[in-house]
């Protein structure tokens, strides 16, 4: 059984920006450990020398000409927003700094 502790799960929840209750976190320890056990099959195999597949397709250089296209109407964009002020999206105060 893969050992995934509560601290690890808490750290992952922070990275994923999910505010989970203590109970939810505890449940996740079990659920994620079970899942990790299940996917462990792939960790056992020696695949050194096999290149990873990032794309199913052999495409390269898909490019777009540098020509302007019409933009969205600002009212339509802002209408979907939870809160706006002076044409901008409002968010509560930011604790962390820009990376």
């Amino acid at each position: 059984m893969a050992e995934l502790g509560i601290d690890e799960v808490r750290k992952v929840a922070r990275l994923a920006r999910l505010e989970l209750s203590a109970e939810e976190l505890a449940d996740l320890v079990g659920e994620l450990s079970a899942l990790l056990d299940h996917v462990d099959a792939i960790r056992q195999i020696d695949l050194s020398g096999v290149p990873p597949t990032a794309h199913a397709l052999p495409l390269v250089n898909v490019l777009r000409e540098d020509v302007p296209r019409s933009c969205l109407d600002r009212d339509e964009v802002l209408a979907a927003a939870p809160e706006t002020e002076e044409g901008r999206f409002v968010v509560p105060s930011i604790l962390g700094d820009e990376p």
Partner: protein, 493 residues
């Protein structure tokens, strides 16, 4: 026989010829929704006014002698993860409840241009994560064959809508089997195209390197028509393949004489007796029709499930980061933006989605990337090579679509791993990018539909569909939709 039962090709031909109005056909569909929706819950949003308006416009165009397209007047249902401009698109999630996209997905635009009439947005497992449609935030969809059973997932609503004779054509998305598995459970044809054949622009992403949009229909011919109407290069999607949509219907009736068919023993051995039997019988039927049928084993195929359950959640964890309460969708207030984000996401995402975001974040995180995500990408290469090697000896591969018939609602929801095993036979095609189709073949021991899966190399849809058509012709009667609600194997009155 209703127009819906006659199918998409027949409707389009008749509408173009003026034999029936698009309006009349759409009224049939709307009436069927009214009859069945309370029991089935196929839809999150129905569009009766818009549909009538669109149908009238088609009829007007026909009267005026204008071109109306390959799907003229055909009522279609769209999975609610396809963006429809001005129409609520939720991915069956609270975090997008009420959100109206300001643009149409490319597939939606092409359907409209082809004259299709959208009657509604169908229910799905939240963000396409699931195999039963029980993960929808708005309640499950029920299987028309048996209301206590799941329709499969994640495209359960679309599959059920076709199976219940509400629409002859519906669209879903397939990331690990989300079109093919519900197709099998509901007794309809469900097709996942080659990755890149159909534009993903406007498909709300689950796992970007695996997602594809595809059709549901009662016949292979209609599914083919449905694929042709939307396939082809899209400049808005960098991963869409160049060139025009292939013309596929030409070879459908060509027969399977001399085609080399490989029955995937690995999957046959891992499924329920009735599913194994259906696959074996299908293989025999093809042999009788002139194909060269042999059994083969691709041991690497078994690595598909674990690889999938690393790659898909990893990509999803990144794709779903944008749901942060800032620009659209749900917002739960907090004293600062960080807690606002975290509360919004915890409240807006259901359990399964949260689970997958967590496992995906973990698989990508520092110290674990190589062991999990990196390794899974290598497994992908291994599997692709193995399948391509198999295709040197076989033209198509055959397997069961699912490990079982439709299971009861609530049976697996408490056990995620159990649920994940539903994808056993389907994930390989998503990982390799190859096309696959599920064709309803038989009724199982529980009297429920069992599908059989045909797989082909990349861009060989024509060959794949030819074999599918042959299977369809050979299948025993009564094994496929449309079906009356709750009526196992009874035809519509």
């Amino acid at each position: 026989m209703s127009w819906i039962e006659r199918g998409a090709a027949a409707i389009a031909a008749a509408v173009r010829a003026g034999e029936v109005t698009a309006r009349a056909v759409v009224e049939e569909s709307l009436a069927r929704i009214a009859e069945t929706e309370e029991q089935l819950h196929c839809f999150h949003t129905t569009l009766p006014d818009e549909a009538r308006r669109d149908a009238d416009a088609i009829d007007e165009a026909v009267r005026a002698g204008r071109e109306v397209g390959s799907l003229a007047g055909v009522p279609v249902a769209l999975k609610d993860n396809l963006c429809t401009r001005g129409v609520e698109t939720t991915c069956s999630s609270r975090i997008l409840e009420g959100w109206k996209p300001p643009y149409d997905a490319t597939v939606v635009a092409r359907l409209r241009a082809a004259g299709a009439v959208v009657v509604g947005k169908t229910n799905l497992d939240e963000f396409a994560m699931g195999s039963s449609t029980e993960n929808s935030a708005f309640g499950p969809t029920r299987n028309p064959w048996d209301l206590d059973r799941v329709p499969g997932g994640s495209s359960g609503g679309s599959a059920a809508a076709v199976a219940a004779g509400i629409v002859p054509l519906a669209y879903g998305s397939d990331t690990g089997g989300s079109i093919r598995q519900p197709a099998s459970f509901c007794g309809v044809v469900g097709l996942k195209p080659t990755y890149g054949l159909v534009s993903r622009y406007g498909l709300i992403a689950f796992a970007s390197s695996l997602d594809q949009i595809g059709p549901f229909a009662c016949t292979v011919a209609d599914a083919t028509l449905g694929l042709e109407a939307v396939a082809g290069e899209d400049p808005m999607d960098s991963t869409s393949l160049g060139g025009r949509a292939p013309s596929l219907r030409l070879e459908l009736g060509g027969g399977v004489e001399g085609l080399r068919v490989g029955l995937l023993g690995d999957f046959v051995n891992d499924v329920s007796p009735s599913c194994a039997r259906a696959a074996n019988e299908a293989a025999d039927a093809l042999a009788r029709a002139g194909a060269k049928v042999d059994e083969l084993s691709i041991p690497e195929a078994r690595l598909g499930l674990p690889a999938y359950y690393v790659i898909a959640p990893a990509e999803a964890s990144s794709n779903l980061a944008r749901y942060d309460g800032v620009r659209y969708g749900l917002r739960v207030e907090g004293p600062d933006v960080e807690s606002m984000n975290a509360r919004t996401r915890a409240a807006g995402f259901g359990k399964e989605v949260r689970r997958r975001i967590m496992i995906g974040t973990y698989a990508l995180s520092a110290g674990y990337y190589d062991a999990y995500y990196g390794q899974a990408q290598r497994v992908r290469t291994l599997m692709t090579r193995a399948f391509e090697a198999a295709y040197e000896h076989f033209d198509v591969l055959l397997s069961p679509t699912t490990p079982s018939e439709a299971f009861p609602i609530g049976a697996k929801v408490a056990n995620p791993i159990e649920m994940y095993l539903s994808d056993l036979c389907t994930v390989s095609s998503n990982l390799t990018g190859h096309p696959a189709v599920s064709v309803p073949y038989a009724l199982g021991d529980e009297g429920l539909p069992v599908g059989v899966q045909v797989m082909a190399p990349a861009l060989h849809e024509a060959r794949m569909l030819k074999v599918a058509a042959a299977l369809e012709a050979a299948a025993p009667a009564g094994a496929r939709a449309p079906v009356a609600v709750g009526g196992r194997a009874s035809p519509i009155a």
